[in-house]
């Protein structure tokens, strides 16, 4: 099969995609793009879509509604982009489009031509009429490579991806030798995006070397890190870029079978990928004899059943084999002996999605992005106390400060920055002094955190670092598969110690104990889960030792977070006589009326949910939270008969 024949077959598919795109353009009716991925749906995108449909048919306006994947701007969901060429305006992006706003937009913009400026986030193209979204740092400081088309195309329409150049990298790869492709990826310096950062090209050449005539390529989309949803978004928004990458990988390593391993907890992602595989097969871009070449690739989806440890490749392989997902000793590495004993390459979603652009634009182009040791981009889901949470793709080497303060808008509510947790349960918390650390595999590891799967949680002054460490240990302790004693029992002990510290029963030897136990767990565990589980403890001990000491020695939680160490009381000086707001909101009826017809909190009943603090009208601001709880003045509940007398008076 020579290059011309492959090209000829692909060009006909490409022409069809272009013809369809051209046809849409010529129709010249407005197009409404609605972000319909999981986060958009959670914010009400389905109601928005329904409202658009109703308003359009009610007014008899012709428009096309296109559901698209995620743009990554979670703070502004539901997001809608309206392309209304006849109005003379460029395509406009609207934020927080509720059903009501959708009706207004149909009436004002589509019918009367007024783009309703107060709902506008920005124009998607530069123009003199409306400021472009590219004027905002949340857009302009990003560099999108993996997520380039996410949110711009309908994930269920393969032609939209092809029209933007999709699958042309695969066509080019099929006309070259596998060794050339491996060499290209090696020169690009691409490192695995799953967290560890192993050079992708080297992994491939090892698999190629042990080829037995039936290698297997697996896409790891078992994103179990609580707080990361990068892989899910890519699967839901642009599954074809991933599938193209998977096919390139399979061709290079000599695989005839490929599996996309997705968490079953991501139902929308599972369905989107399954549909994408079907439509790619129909165009002979996957399946038997791809584009007329002798290269066969059977692609299937395996739904992972929710075990964090299955993100580790040997555990993942065990679970596909229908066993408990326990990691195995390496060597033999999966590239020599993996699934069903065959050489197996496991690559992360982001790694595979980076491949098409590397093939098209070359290894040196990719190397020029990011840093010398970590080329390319990094995708993070930035959540927690930031103004503009969501998915962010930036060039490697960008500093944490730029990412948090410039791209994501910094800390809201006039609070100050305390720490950033990177890499989820395996990562670490970094304090303000580390904000100038560049984001790349090696710098983060040196700082004590790690790239991980892309979870980043920003915490303000109200977060307690001991509590955060306890939270992550609670997670890893539950998810430990139980194979290694140090991980199984050690994480349990770490959790017990942290539990008692946050409950005010910490002992003075606990800090020392946490540190030595952490080192032992690191040394005594087989896989990444155990080796990295103590990281949240170690980094918080290193950077926030004073908080541990306040908990242990003074029984005080400086951030007022640990509930056993805090108490609420009502300042009688400020409390307004006769106001009942807090009484109504208390879920456990802990608030009573004092003799002076003001309010008091029964400390024995109080569950410390903080509802009264939120509910107390701002002009009184009478509810106070303190730590240690002994600081709260004791206000006795009047005996019952007196209360009723007071009520009558």
């Amino acid at each position: 099969m020579n290059k011309q024949e492959i090209d000829a077959r692909f060009v006909s598919i490409r022409r069809e995609a272009e013809r369809r795109a051209e046809h849409r353009k010529r129709e010249a009716i407005p197009t409404i793009y609605i972000v319909m991925s999981t986060c958009g749906l959670a914010s009400g995108a389905a109601e928005t879509k329904h409202a658009f449909e109703e308003a359009l048919s009610h007014k008899g306006i012709q428009a096309r509604i296109v559901p698209v994947g995620c743009l990554g701007h979670c703070y502004a969901e539901p997001l809608v982009v309206i392309d209304h060429p006849a109005s003379g305006f460029p395509p406009i992006c609207y934020h927080q489009v509720s059903a009501g706003r959708a009706r207004v937009l149909v009436g004002s913009y589509l019918e009367e031509g007024d783009p309703v400026l107060e709902y506008v986030l920005g124009a998607m193209e530069r123009s003199d009429l409306i400021p472009s979204v590219m004027d905002f740092p949340r857009f302009s400081l990003e560099q999108r490579l993996v997520m380039e088309h996410c949110g711009h195309i309908d994930p269920d329409d393969i032609y939209q991806y092809i029209a933007l150049g999709g699958y042309s990298a695969l066509a080019r790869v099929l006309a070259s030798e596998p060794a050339e492709i491996i060499h290209l990826i090696e020169t690009s310096g691409l490192r695995g995006r799953g967290g560890a950062g192993f050079p992708t090209g080297r992994k491939w050449s090892l698999a190629r070397a042990s080829e037995t005539g039936g290698n297997i390529a697996i896409c790891n989309a078992d994103e179990g890190d609580p707080g990361a949803y990068v892989d899910r978004t890519i699967l839901e928004s642009n599954p074809h870029q991933l599938l193209e990458g998977l096919a390139i990988c399979a061709y290079a390593v000599g695989a005839t079978q490929a599996i996309v391993y997705v968490r079953a907890e991501y139902p929308l992602a599972v369905q989107t990928v399954k549909r994408a595989i079907r439509s790619a097969k129909e165009l002979s871009l996957l399946g038997p004899g791809i584009l007329g070449t002798p290269f066969d690739l059977e692609v299937s989806v395996f739904e992972g059943s929710g075990a964090f440890v299955c993100g580790e490749e040997t555990a993942l392989i065990r679970s596909i084999e229908g066993r408990r997902g326990m990691p195995q000793h390496r060597p033999p590495y999966p590239v020599e002996k993996g699934l069903w004993g065959r050489p197996t390459v496991v690559n992360n979603v982001k790694t595979l999605s980076s491949l098409p652009s590397i093939v098209q634009k070359g290894g040196s182009w990719f190397r020029a992005i990011g840093t010398a040791s970590s080329p390319g981009t990094a995708v993070f889901s930035v959540v927690g106390n930031v103004r503009h949470p969501g998915l962010v793709e930036i060039a490697m080497g960008t500093s944490l400060r730029t990412l948090i303060f410039d791209v994501c808008g910094g800390i809201p509510n006039k609070k100050s920055f305390k720490a950033v947790q990177i890499g989820g349960p395996s990562g670490g918390c970094l304090p303000e002094s580390f904000l100038d650390t560049p984001i790349d595999f090696d710098s983060l590891r040196q700082a004590g955190a790690m790239m991980g799967s892309g979870g980043m949680v920003v915490m303000d002054e109200d977060s307690c670092m001991v509590d955060v460490a306890r939270y992550f240990l609670d997670f890893t302790q539950k998810e430990s598969c139980g194979k290694c004693t140090f991980c199984r029992i050690g994480t349990r002990h770490l959790l017990n110690i942290l539990d008692r510290i946050t409950k005010g029963d910490g002992r003075k030897e606990d800090v020392e104990l946490l540190a030595t136990l952490s080192e032992d767990i690191k040394n005594g565990s087989l896989c990444g889960l155990g080796k990295t589980a103590p990281n949240p403890v170690l980094t918080s001990l290193r950077f926030f030792l004073d908080e541990y000491e306040a908990h242990i020695k003074e029984k005080r939680c400086p951030a007022l977070k640990c509930r056993s160490l805090t108490a609420y009381y009502i300042d009688l000086e400020k409390c307004a006589r006769g106001c009942e707001v807090c009484v109504g909101c208390c879920p456990v009826e802990a608030i009573f009326t004092t003799r002076g017809r003001k309010k008091g909190i029964d400390q024995k009943l109080c569950v410390k949910c903080g509802e009264c603090l939120v509910a107390c009208p701002r002009e009184y601001d009478a509810v106070v939270k303190v730590s240690p709880p002994g600081l709260a003045p004791i206000i006795e509940r009047p005996p019952d008969e007196e209360k009723s007398v007071g009520g009558q008076g």
């Binding site: 979670c74 059943s305 084999e321 949470p389 949910c609």
Partner: protein, 184 residues
């Protein structure tokens, strides 16, 4: 009481029949174990002991092996869930925003613990790790509806809503029945 017990067993009988009918579609291959368990749970919302034994027989492995695999993964449930499933997200962002307080409120309100179902099989409460709506933290799910920015008072409100809905249905039922009687 006796009545509901026999009803349950008839439900179970139907389940066994259904599983017996769906098993032949799966090749007797060890790699099919997890997909089979997923398919059963998809249809019956939990894995009963009888169901796991049937799977073991179909694949020619010990029931303990099936149970061992099923209990390893978080996805599988061994108790039937309530008619309304409440899931409280305790991912990192929700934890920082106070997800645990929300979970406690549900637990207190229903007098059950995380992972349990109320005696009338109406509600079950479970914790989940990140539903991926971190920007709306803290998040809870009522069946498939995502409830963002939860507060203890919203939990209260939810149950007030349930109560109103239940009373309305009861009234309608009474009205329907009395209407039928009038027709008779």
């Amino acid at each position: 009481m006796e009545n509901s017990a026999s009803e349950l067993s008839s439900v179970e009988r139907a389940m066994v029949q259904d599983i017996a009918a769906m098993l032949p579609a799966f090749e007797r291959h060890r790699g099919n174990l997890i997909p089979i368990l997923q398919a059963i749970q998809e249809r019956h919302s939990y894995l009963s002991g009888a169901a796991m034994k049937m799977v073991a027989k179909h694949l020619g492995i010990g029931p303990g092996e099936v149970y061992g695999v099923a209990t390893f993964y978080n996805q599988f449930r061994f108790q039937p869930p309530g008619r309304h499933r409440i899931k409280v997200c305790l991912g990192t962002a929700c934890h920082v925003a106070g997800g645990e307080i929300i979970l406690e409120n549900f637990e207190r309100k229903l007098s059950i613990k995380d992972g349990e179902t109320t005696a009338d099989r109406e509600y079950s409460v479970e914790r989940v790790v990140c539903v991926g709506c971190c920007a709306l933290a803290p998040v809870a799910l009522l069946d498939d509806d995502v409830l963002g920015r939860m507060l203890p008072s919203k939990v209260e409100g939810l149950f007030v809503q349930f109560e109103i809905e239940r009373q309305r249905q009861e009234r309608e039922k009474v009205a329907r029945e009395s209407g039928e009687q009038a027709r008779d």
